[in-house]
Symmetry: C2
Subunit: 213 residues, 2 copies
C-alpha cells in the first residue's frame, strides 16, 4: 500500500473514513487509549481492512497529525503586517476561538500529543511551527517598537492566545461543569471576554499626559 498517494476512489474514500474515525477515537481516548478495534468500529470497517490502508496504528496517528498541521497554523499565517495591529491580533484571537469551537477534536488531539512530549511531531514544532512563529513574532515586535501596540513580548503573547482559545476546546468538560447551567452560549461570552481582555492589553497607552476617555 503506497501511503502517500491514493490510486483509486475507493482508496481515497476509505482513507478519509478511517482518518475521520481515528480523529474521533484518538482525540477522545489518546493514542494508547484508542484501539484499532474501536477505530474500525467507528469507521464501519474490519480491523484487517484498516491495516490494508495504513500499515500500523501509529501510521494512522501520524497521518492525522501531519494532515492537520497546516490547517491548524493557517490563522496565524493570516496575520497581515500591513493591517491595523490591534485589529489583526484580535481577528486572530477570534479565528482561533472559532477553531476551538468548530474543531475541538483536532485541538484535543494536538493537546494530548504535546502534553505527552510530542513524540511524533517534535520536528514539526521545531521546524515549520517555530519558523512561522518567529516570523509573526517579528511583525508583532515591530508593531510594539513603533508604539502601535503595547510593549508585550510577542512570543508569550502568541502563547497566551493559544492557551486562552484552546482552553475552551481542550478543557471543555471543566468549562461546562463550572458555567453550568449557563446554556450553549458560552462561546459568545468567551468571544466577548477575550476581545475585551486582549484589546485592553494591546491598546497602547496614549502619549504621556494625554487625556483618554
Amino acid at each position: 500500500m503506497n501511503e502517500a498517494a491514493p490510486r483509486t476512489r475507493i482508496q481515497k474514500r476509505n482513507r478519509e473514513i478511517i482518518l475521520e474515525a481515528a480523529l474521533e477515537v484518538f482525540s477522545a481516548e489518546g493514542f494508547r487509549g484508542a484501539t484499532l478495534d474501536r477505530i474500525a468500529e467507528a469507521a464501519g470497517l474490519s480491523k484487517p481492512n484498516l491495516l490494508y490502508y495504513f500499515p500500523s496504528k501509529e501510521a494512522i496517528h501520524v497521518a492525522l497529525l501531519a494532515g492537520l498541521m497546516d490547517t491548524w497554523l493557517a490563522p496565524l499565517a493570516g496575520i497581515d503586517p500591513d493591517g491595523d495591529p490591534v485589529e489583526e491580533i484580535l481577528a486572530y484571537v477570534r479565528l482561533k476561538l472559532d477553531m476551538a469551537r468548530d474543531y475541538p477534536r483536532e485541538s484535543r488531539l494536538f493537546a494530548q500529543e504535546i502534553v505527552q512530549g510530542a513524540p511524533r511531531i517534535l520536528d514539526q514544532i521545531e521546524g515549520p511551527l517555530k519558523t512561522l512563529v518567529d516570523e509573526k513574532a517579528a511583525v508583532i515586535r515591530a508593531w510594539a517598537e513603533a508604539g502601535r501596540i503595547a510593549p508585550l513580548d510577542p512570543c508569550h503573547l502568541i502563547f497566551s492566545i493559544w492557551a486562552t482559545t484552546q482552553h475552551y476546546a481542550d478543557f471543555d468538560v471543566q468549562v461546562r461543569g463550572i458555567l453550568r447551567p449557563e446554556g450553549e452560549t458560552h462561546f459568545d461570552a468567551a468571544h466577548a471576554f477575550l476581545e475585551g481582555l486582549f484589546r485592553r492589553a494591546l491598546t497602547p497607552d496614549g502619549p504621556a499626559g494625554a487625556a483618554i476617555r
Copy 2:
C-alpha cells in the same frame, strides 16, 4: 488492604512511594499509556506489591487525583476579598505560574484527565471546584461592579488565568521548541508578560476625561 487509612509506617511510606512513581508515569504517558510494570519499576517495587497497597491501577489514579485536588485549588481559595483587587488577582496569577513551574507533572495529570472528559473527577469539578469558583467569581464581580477593576466576566477571567499559566506546564515541549535557544529563563519572561497582560487588562479606566500618564 484498607485503602483509606495507613496503619503502619511501612504502609505510609510505600503508599507515598507508589503515588510519587504513579504521578511520574501517569503524567508522562496518560492513564492508558501507563502500565503497572512501569509504575512498579519507577517505584522500585514489584507489581504484585503495588497491588498489595492499591486494589487496582484505577485506584492508584483516583487516589492521586483526589489527593491533588486540594493543593491545586489552594491558590484560588487564597484570593482575599478585602485585599487590593488588581494585586490580589495578580498575586493569584503569579502563584499559579509558580505551580506550573514547580509542579508540571501534577498539571499534566489534570490536563490529561480533563481532556479525556474527566471520567474520574467530574463530580469533583461540578462539586467543590464549581463552588469555589462561584464564590471567587462573586468577589471579582463585586470588584468590577464597584469599578475597582475593569468590567470583565469573572468566570472567563479565571479560565484565562488557568489557561495561560498551565500552558507553560502542559505545553512545555512546544514552548521550549519555539523559544529555543532561549535558556531556562523563560519562566521569568512568562511572569513578566502575564503580569503586564493582566495588569493592563484589569486596571480600570480612569474617570472619563481624566488624564492618565
